[in-house]
Assembly symmetry: C2
Homo-oligomer: 395 residues x 2
Amino acid sequence: MNNFNFHRPTDIYFGRGAENNAGEICKKHGGTKVLIHFGGKSAIKSGLIDRVEKSLTTAGLSYVKLGGVQPNPRAELVYEGIKLCKKEGVDMILAVGGGSVIDSSKAIAMGVPYDGDFWDFFMGGKTPEVSLPLGSVLTIAAAGSECSNSCVIDKEVNGIIKKKGSNCQANVAKFAIMNPELTMTLPPYQTACGCCDIMCHVMERYFTNTKDVEVTDQLCEGILRAMVAMIPRVMKDPNDYEARANIMWASSLAHNNLCGVDREQDWASHRIEHELSALYDCAHGAGLSVIMPAWMEHVMDHDVMRFAQFANRVFGCAMDFAHPEVTAKNGIAALRALWKSAGLPLSFADLGAKKEDIPTLLNNLGIDDHTEGHFMILKRPDVEAIFNIAANYKD
Amino acid sequence: MNNFNFHRPTDIYFGRGAENNAGEICKKHGGTKVLIHFGGKSAIKSGLIDRVEKSLTTAGLSYVKLGGVQPNPRAELVYEGIKLCKKEGVDMILAVGGGSVIDSSKAIAMGVPYDGDFWDFFMGGKTPEVSLPLGSVLTIAAAGSECSNSCVIDKEVNGIIKKKGSNCQANVAKFAIMNPELTMTLPPYQTACGCCDIMCHVMERYFTNTKDVEVTDQLCEGILRAMVAMIPRVMKDPNDYEARANIMWASSLAHNNLCGVDREQDWASHRIEHELSALYDCAHGAGLSVIMPAWMEHVMDHDVMRFAQFANRVFGCAMDFAHPEVTAKNGIAALRALWKSAGLPLSFADLGAKKEDIPTLLNNLGIDDHTEGHFMILKRPDVEAIFNIAANYKD
């Protein structure tokens, strides 16, 4: 087990109707003038933005609004948000949405008290010392950004979309308002993409070279098993509150680092996937559904017993003690079968990605200049092989 | 799943040598004059207090010291601590010890900014609005007080020791410094008592009537399985760092309420046990080792499938689908066998408790005036039956 620091002070308000206390919660955490940051028109149409505005007004807070966050959130809107906050004297940001809205909010929160370009925090080397207080009303269980220290933003640089992350304590939200009912209207595909993202956040931590991490292994496996149980329920009945609630709580625990505090983590699949969603503008969870199993197949031999443990403990695959690699492969197959049953893509073809783009994807990743991952260190031929496995999948 | 609020802002510094940064950590959290609160002479003899003092001095902080906290911490020392803090202008408390020291520190922290008697917060009805900032250097993995909102204090009232708890957000520590190496010198019996307490903190949450709590069920079972794996290791080799580390991290996760946020919890066993440790001054974990299985046997019929799930998922007992009660009983037997192997008491006789004291224990609990527990509501005959099961255990 590695030494670690763990600090997740996010104050969580979970359950039916939680968003109706948004005003009091913002006030409790010191907000006086709030930026309500959100995505498309669905949050307006559903009446959610109205309810949040009403709650803020009732609590005696003033606010401004900025909508228009898109999936794979863009730097342009972040710059606009920073300008607006400075102009209006905003002292708290309330993200109303999913991971994209929260990440856009985090970037704005970092940028407001900073004199330079917020993008400095995404190009490596610089860490913000302060950021505006931030909270969320979560509408999608997926990214886990409501309780994580992560933030991912897309910026066009020299005609190429660069997707970059910033991970730091300043990115941890002050509060999260989580009502599973708000996720019931999500289309099945988006629900499934969210579930895939949640599982991958756990798996990026689970596949590790760090030994003797039994407690966190158990947490990883437990959350994954809960997802395996809940995915068929939510796909069958989108209004299953209990399934929605378990998935929503899993989304936070999967990415607040509880599952990975004490270990070396991997994150190659996430970084490789980012090139897919940058090039094809596909959902992050959809890209992961294609890349993660391909990554697993490529790296399996690095520690077959780890993959056998995954198969046995998460999917209940019988352990083949004479041939652990059989158990390991059965686990990957079980994962793909689960995702397929949820309507997720399993191949380049399903995703609309093209095999002939692989050189472009590799170049965009800039893999010649660095390696990816920690479980197994990946160089260009490895990532190329992973893309090829994904491109060759037939089902 | 029930609605919930979850807020555990404790900043955790975990790993080898962590205590050497105590000064910087206190400073980061705003301390300028610190009360170092501790127990007996072992913390001095081991050099731990010296190292902590040195770290505080290096960080430019001043401090006063108050030792003498005993297991089942007493109100008298809390009053002394409050007086000392007020006199010296202390603005932060650093508990160096286990649950008793941390609880004594929490009580002092509540009492300093309060004009009345700190005991008001333990007699029900009153909740402190503020308390002094508090952190710990943990030396025993057991109570989980380092990350919990609980505090339990003994006070002699009319010749009877009253053991009372106060659970509130003000009791949540600002930080916890957790070096598993510091627990290596604990005697085996104390180590085992701690492990029992950790498991019981999970079990008090696990046995619930709340349905559809799959994620937290998985967390409960996972932490329990990790304990089942680690207890034999640490009993065999007290210097097994990895086992100590897993147990220490489990102690925090078992009682920071992560395992129970979304459910009705029980806590009858803890409350019943408190009468044993109050009357016989036995270790809390030792009392639990006797009472928890007795409670389980008495309430099992309330939800046999829950106990079968416990047996199957935590101890790997084969599920007897025709007779789930057989599986359920096997789980209780497996738990007692584990605790026996760790040298824990399993009966009144092992504990030095007497069957003829049962009326006294019942009266001290005041069970005629209220009920205990939530999984199954316990009245006097129930608690009497539980005590009798515990008194009649032969092994």
